[in-house]
């Protein structure tokens, strides 16, 4: 890999500033051994933000756990601001009160905020609370407060077996009743708690196909107002591009088809857990590269063998990837998320099985046959 193609430091760091959460969601990736780790104290984070400032890191994404469970949250926020960065918050929304809003409005806290994302998984408590117990009313209250005060609020809907049939109501609730400009969707992943609860949460191929159809229908009703980086909507787009490429012989320019090119994260971002563990991405909790308390982020970014391996993944042709050698789609596939591939196969140089188009087609065909 040519050194010139690697940025001097990551542009963004995703930081889980706490492992604590006031909710126990069914599909949380922060489960098991993650909650057992200890939160770093305030000063360690402030030192880290200083390091990020010196490296010219531009923004951080603050997540958890639930960020607002940290009593020193605003001290940390001010540390980020003092070190010339912007920030984004991912929250369950249930702890957002008038007091939190007035705290957020102090100094440059509001000016530097890119967005605050709240998770909403249903159009009503009876559906939302199945995956995010006892939280709908408080989450909606938090969302309303933020919207009313004019904060750059975003909503993420994680599609699972409980809310699959509620998607139309969710869209109406968020876009019409709440008046949000848009919302994004994802899918419950089989990691963390989602792994333990996979049977009740994870979509089957047929259900995923239903979700794709519903989302396609909703996109026609609400053009441009549903977005996705992953999950059924994103997969639908990727699968369509694969079909188009095979039919026309023209490959998409969004990624290099036929190679393990799916993830560009390792070229611009890194992630840190609440105990200071540095990982390439929060989707790769098992690939610990060091700790912010005693390792240089810059050195890890440039020299860690695992970072290099993840970047070099892009040059691996799909026809050489274990399990994909004989696939008729390997010339058009990009292997999808290395995090899920690692989680499910133990090797990030494999394709993510949950996004496999061939598997999707086969399962759908067999389920359709069974049904008919």
């Amino acid at each position: 890999m040519n050194k010139g193609t690697i940025l001097s430091s990551p542009k963004q760091i995703d930081i889980a500033i706490t492992g604590r959460c006031n909710l126990r969601c069914e599909y949380c990736f922060y489960a098991d051994e993650m909650v057992a780790r200890t939160d770093l104290p305030t000063q360690k984070w402030l030192n880290f933000f200083e390091e990020l400032g010196k490296l010219g890191v531009m923004r951080v994404c603050l997540t958890g756990g639930e960020v607002f469970t940290r009593s020193d949250f605003f001290t940390l926020l001010d540390g980020i601001i003092a070190n010339r960065m912007r920030y984004q918050i991912l929250s369950n929304g249930t702890l957002i009160t008038e007091n939190i809003l007035s705290q957020l409005s102090i100094g440059k806290r509001r000016l530097r905020m890119d967005s605050i994302q709240i998770s909403i998984d249903g159009s009503c408590a009876s559906i939302h609370d199945k995956s995010r117990p006892n939280s709908f009313d408080r989450a909606v209250q938090g969302l309303s407060l933020l919207k009313k005060a004019g904060y750059p609020v975003a909503v993420r809907v994680t599609i699972n077996r409980y809310n699959l049939h509620d998607l139309e109501n969710i869209a109406r609730f968020l876009l019409e009743d709440m008046g949000l400009p848009s919302f994004s969707t994802n899918e419950a992943m089989p990691i963390g708690s989602g792994c333990q609860n996979a049977a009740s949460m994870s979509l089957t191929s047929t259900e995923r196909f239903q979700a794709m159809q519903t989302l396609d229908h909703l996109l026609k009703r609400y053009p441009g107002r549903l977005t996705a980086q992953a999950g059924p909507q994103a997969k639908c787009k990727a699968y369509q591009e694969m079909e188009d490429a095979r039919e026309t012989g023209i490959k998409t320019t969004r990624w290099e088809m036929g190679f393990l090119t799916a993830c560009g994260c390792v070229f611009s971002t890194m992630a840190v857990y609440h105990d200071g563990s540095i990982v390439p991405c929060h989707m790769l909790p098992g690939v610990v590269l060091g700790n912010i308390c005693h390792d240089s982020l810059k050195e890890i970014w440039h020299t860690h063998p695992q970072m290099k391996a993840l970047r070099e993944r892009r040059s691996i042709p799909m026809h050489k990837v274990q399990g994909c050698q004989t696939c008729e789609w390997n010339e058009y596939c990009n292997g999808s998320c290395p995090g899920l591939a690692h989680q499910l196969t133990g090797d990030f140089n494999r394709a993510n099985p949950t996004d496999c188009y061939r598997k999707f087609l086969l399962e759908k065909e067999s389920n359709d046959a069974l049904r008919s």
Binding site: K3, G56, M58, M85, K108, R112
Partner: protein
Amino acid sequence: MIHEDQIFVLSSHIAVESFSDGALLFMAENRQLLEFNLTADRILSYTDGHHSVQEIASIIANMYDIPLREALQDTMILYEELHRQKIVFPENPLNKKGIMTQVERNERYMRNPDVGLREEDEDGGLLFNPDTNQVKVLNPTGLFVWKHCDSHHGIESIILKLQEAFDDVPEKEVRADVLSFLEEMEKSGFLGKVLHE
């Protein structure tokens, strides 16, 4: 706020007809006619992109034999009003093809302390203003100038250092390029001008 070192030019939408006792000014944009007295007409005639407010005030003071302070005050008030009505505009340093006044030569800039810098090896760098979410890509010479905007180096000193550090900087264009760079960076809030003491 007008200051005495500023140089103005007339808007291209303006036509001035001088008479023995004053002038008529036609504003093409709103088809308005304005009447000016003789002193204002004299000031307009020196609004040519070369004379500073101070220099014009000095001419007026000599012409009418009045104290410079009084002439300066009147001239600045007039320019304030002309600028407000978009009849005159401050001269762009670039229009002068890199010719700087003594004041400009000593002008000093300082970096916005909220702006972060990412240095990208030999490729230059990238500035990020987290308050405005603006990004500015710098080539190696831009990065060099940025680093010297430390409130101590004047423009002339930066240009000299730049010529020393880079062999391939064409002497003819460097001055205009540096001025243009500084002007743009100031306009977009990445740099601030150090006020005269």
